[in-house]
């Protein structure tokens, strides 16, 4: 059996942190059968993460096999993680994506954003919300980070 990526002490800390999760949240991972060295580690990491709360669900898709779904979520690279809200009948896509293995500081960021998405609230100032709410043209942020 493959060793866990997340150690027991960290699992405990994550479980305690995820008490803050308000609403069901879906973690969606897009992978690729070949040409994706970090896909398997990312899949295992997210599997272990999603097991820490019964309000988290985890699904895995292949960017080639599930091409229509990948297009729907605007996925063009793998591994790619979508953090979305989940209702009984729907997935709420907030445009939150992570490309690559989320290690170190970014893993902490991902955990915080799972909670943020679960609250269905961005926690931004009113002026910012008003401006963003009035946008009519698509824009995308590409935020580059390095694993630390």
């Amino acid at each position: 059996m493959k060793e866990n990526i997340i150690d027991d002490e960290t699992i405990k800390q994550i479980k305690d942190f995820f008490i803050q999760i308000d609403n069901p949240t879906e973690i969606i991972l897009f992978t690729q059968k070949d040409n994706c060295p970090s896909c398997e580690d990312t899949r295992q990491l997210l599997m272990e993460l999603s097991n820490t709360s019964d309000k988290l669900t985890f699904s895995v898709y292949d960017i080639d096999v599930d091409a229509a779904l990948a297009k729907k979520y605007n996925i063009d690279k793998v591994p790619n993680i979508v953090i979305a809200g989940k209702t009984d009948n729907d997935i709420l896509d907030y445009g939150v994506r992570y490309a690559g293995l989320p290690s170190g500081h970014e893993f902490g960021s991902l955990i915080r954003e799972v909670v943020q998405v679960s609250k269905r609230d961005s926690n931004l100032n009113k002026d910012t919300r008003d401006y963003l709410g009035g946008l009519t043209k698509p824009i995308k942020f590409l935020v580059f980070f390095t694993p630390t």
């Binding site: 591994p79 445009g95 293995l101 401006y131 942020f141 935020v143």
Partner: protein, 70 residues
């Protein structure tokens, strides 16, 4: 991540955190030399803004406004 929070407020905004280690060619394409490095692109993939380093909410908002009025 602030950009993710921005994405939550509009169906027209998407924010993707990208590992420069896993996607080094893309990092080179955007001339990433220090992180975090935020590239703002339009629907056609054209670069319309750049923020190097961490930015507070007001600064990132100003950058979007500047990018969209070009």
């Amino acid at each position: 991540m602030l950009a993710h929070q921005f994405a939550m407020e509009s169906p027209f905004v998407q924010a993707e955190a990208i590992s420069a280690y896993d996607f080094y060619e893309l990092s080179d394409q955007y001339a990433v030399s220090g992180v975090p490095h935020t590239a703002i692109i339009d629907s056609e993939g054209k670069l319309i803004g750049t923020v190097v380093g961490s930015a507070p909410e007001s600064h990132l908002l100003d950058e979007i406004k500047k990018a969209l009025t070009q």
